[in-house]
Amino acid sequence: MTQHGAYSIVVNIKSGMRQPLYDLLQKIDDGGVEDNDIIPFKKITTIHFARFVILDACKDAYGQDIPARLAFTTNYDLPLNNHMQQMIAVAGKGLWQLFSMCEDFPQGPFNASMLDAYFQDYSKKAETFYVGVGNRSVQQIREEHVLRNAINDYTDQNRQSIHQQSAVAARQQIIDYVNGNPDLAFAKIPVPAASKKWDAAFYGKLIGVIILFIVFLPIIIPFVIVWMLIMLSIEIREKQVPNNLTKDHIRELVNRETQMVQAQFSALGNVKPGKFRLATMMFLLRTTDFLAPYLFAKGKLSGIPTVHFARWLIIDEGRQMLFLSNYDGNSENYLRDFIHIAAKQLTLMFCHTEGYPKTRLMVFGGAKDAEGFMQWARAKQIITNVWYSANKEVSVKNIYNNSKIRNGLYGTMTETEASEWLRSI
């Protein structure tokens, strides 16, 4: 079983280097994100998704200047060390070239160990990391899609014989086909499931936290009430910051959405002023980070069934929130899903940024103002300069169903179970 990590690095761009950096990133995009010779992403086989985003110079909620930054993030197969080594081995020189336009980067020609050290020193942990397609490596996702397509073609060609048999016999015929096909040799054995020890640790952690929560409930309840009252008073006094959104900004964003199946979203916003706001936000994001694997298992982020990975980063000493996600469809549908399916949960996490529609107690209002939410989201959305997806032809639902097909190849099944399995093909 493969677990996932979210690597992030956000560093200031050297003064005067924003344009050359932009141009170089554009060159990666123009050269084909998979095979370009600067960062040939396809060869970095531990990456699910990766992106480079230039965060332009701006002012924070206090009116202080924030310089232009470069963000580079990956969703990768653990362990991190392996991912780093591979990335540096394959694309070290390109990364060196890019990051040498950033501050505090070592001088001189490419040096693998110095790059590694830089990537470790300046890496940034996401406050919240959501995994929609958990426990699958890049390779497994690809292989299971190949398997599903092969089984589909096979069943099309052998429709007559399969339909004339019982479900159990039809399943066996498919298993025999898979086992006899050298291209599908990987499917002969199942992917190892989580060990009992892993499971025990995973659920033990949750149970521990629940017990602590119950024990301290008498203290937590009054604390939360007071906290919420303070928050409410802040919300009432807060001045709404207008979102400046132009049609040209929307055009620039959607023109870059050219993939058929998946799309990405990058958004940058100022955290509202005040230490109380910052502390509340950090607590909520980190709590969500802890609970997400338990609450949002099975590929649904608060009920939204299309998100592969998402992360919330708080950068520049708590002054800005950077949100990055990879999902199926396009940004218009994606934002509508936020409003229709997960308005309250996502309001709780996003309402701490300027321009978000007015809230009460951090869940009421907010995204219920659909018009205001769309304005905010589009205004905060920024261009993703380079975006890579390793398995760009599969949706979250495809990935889950492909695993179901694969797992159905093992063990015995009753006629009913076999029928159900055949239906998933």
Binding site: A170, H340, N398
Partner: protein, 473 residues
């Protein structure tokens, strides 16, 4: 809020089934001054919603370019939504709507990249062909003097039993606008602001409405806008999506025939009709297959009162990829039932389409269509739909549901009837369609495109007062 029905163009309220003859004139403005005069004269002909015309009805709508041509200022133009401004032929919209291959806007007959810009859509409905012809000819005669040029004269046809060319009863599932006299189930009743600007929509909000500076409306023809110092140009108006869809009826039935032939190569008529019905989701007479999977019933043709979730969770009656299950998924989206219905109702459209071109066989019976010998006439559907938010309604349905190969858990199935399989990233240029079974599905492959887009544009259909304002510019 009471609907100001006398200020709404009547097409929003009714589809004029009593006025079966119709002509659509696609016009461009050649002389602004003359066109404004013509507009001032013709606006008296436009049918308001409180009239129930028995003889003739006239409607008018403007493209973004059209509004510009008749002299609307830049600030007012900017207050229109990006969808109207950009139209349906930008690179992004081509991708979003899936207009590739023969349907690419480069190949259109009107409204496309190589065509003259469309400015005005004039719609004429009449009780019979003679009445229609008289009126259309009268309008055509006015055009040169009115500073207008005819780009395209789109005629229509009434087909047997109100079917479309493939032989299926069309226009059955329509949302009911709350506040009109008709009443309907809660699930099919939609807030008026979904279709008419100036009213609350499904989010209990007002859809942004275009406006003009108060100073530009000295006669106070228009009401106050919610934007300070502005008058509301959008109130009681709506947007029109017009797409000319050419239908290849012969190709359609030949595919169904070939896919279902008996072992000896002879036609299997019931199987052929059933496959087509599965792709549509209804039998030719309109009976929903999720209710009657075994065949059409005479009294079920307008039935809309069905769900998918409980009656057909595995798609065994109505396949997951069928046209009606994806153009209005009702309760079948992957959320709880209530959310699914509420989501679906945020993406409804009012359909006002009409067929054009001679039927391939007068009866429209599948076997007659299959055996027809004269097949090369131009025929199809003028797809017309109305809504207050083109992006959230028509474009969303087309992009996220109809033409999305991953819709609701699918892999590579676009709408078998209207999907486009020529996206440059498509692995092949034909479609697939799976019919679910208790065990393994039956998958039909190599489905060609039965429908080709031949033209299209987005229009703003103003309220009656806004039309008066526009003609006074």
């Amino acid at each position: 809020m009471q609907l100001e029905i006398n200020d709404i163009q009547g097409l929003v309220i009714r589809g004029y089934s009593n006025l079966p003859a119709a002509d659509f004139l696609i016009l461009s403005v050649t002389d602004t001054t003359a066109a404004k005069k013509w507009l001032a004269a013709i606006q008296k002909d436009v049918t308001p919603g409180h009239h129930k015309p028995k003889e003739i009805a006239v409607h008018i709508a403007f493209s973004f370019e059209g509004l510009k041509q008749i002299g609307l200022d830049r600030a007012s133009l900017d207050s229109f939504p990006i969808e109207l401004e950009d139209g349906m032929t930008t690179r992004h919209k081509q991708q979003f709507l899936g207009d590739f291959g023969n349907s690419a806007p480069d190949n259109w007959e009107w409204g496309g990249r190589a065509n003259e810009p469309v400015h005005i859509l004039l719609m004429i409905y009449a009780k019979d062909a003679a009445t229609l012809d008289a009126r259309t000819q009268a309008y055509l005669a006015q055009l040169p003097q009115g500073g207008l040029k005819l780009l395209n004269h789109l005629g229509t046809t009434v087909l047997y039993e109100r079917k479309e060319h493939f032989g299926f009863r069309d226009g059955i599932s329509q949302p009911t606008i709350k506040g009109l006299s008709r009443s309907d189930s809660d699930e099919n009743s939609v807030e008026p602001g979904e279709f008419i600007l100036g009213y609350r929509n499904g989010y209990n909000q007002f859809t942004p409405s275009p406006y003009i500076a108060a100073a530009a409306d000295p006669k106070n023809l228009l009401p106050q806008s919610s934007v300070n110092g502005m008058h509301d140009l959008g109130r009681n108006g709506t947007y029109v999506v017009f797409r000319q869809m050419k239908q290849d009826v012969s190709l359609f039935w030949k595919y169904m025939d070939k896919a279902t032939q008996n072992a000896d190569g002879s036609n299997n008529e019931p199987a052929m009709i059933k496959l087509a019905a599965q792709m549509v989701g209804r039998w030719p007479n309109g009976t929903p297959i999720v209710v009657c999977p075994d065949g059409e019933r005479p009294h079920m043709e307008d039935d809309n009162n069905f769900d998918f979730r409980n009656s057909d969770p595995h798609g065994l009656k109505c396949p997951f990829a069928s046209h009606i299950r994806r153009s209005n998924p009702k309760d079948s989206l992957d959320t709880d039932r209530k959310t699914s219905i509420s989501v679906s109702n945020k993406h409804r459209i009012l359909r006002r389409g009409r067929s054009y071109g001679p039927p391939i066989a007068a009866t429209l019976k599948p076997i007659d269509c299959l055996n027809a010998t004269k097949c090369d006439d131009d025929r199809g559907l003028h797809f017309i739909c109305l809504g207050a938010d083109i992006g959230r309604q028509f474009e969303f349905v087309q992009n996220a549901w109809i033409n999305n190969p991953k819709f609701n858990g699918l892999y590579e199935e676009r709408d078998a009837i209207t999907g486009n399989h020529h996206n440059p990233q498509d692995p092949r240029t034909t479609g697939t369609f799976a019919v679910q079974h208790p065990g393994l599905r039956v998958r039909y492959t190599d489905i060609p495109e039965f429908v080709t887009i031949r033209g299209g544009a987005y229009f703003f259909m103003p309220g009656i007062k806004a039309l008066q304002y526009l003609s006074s510019l």
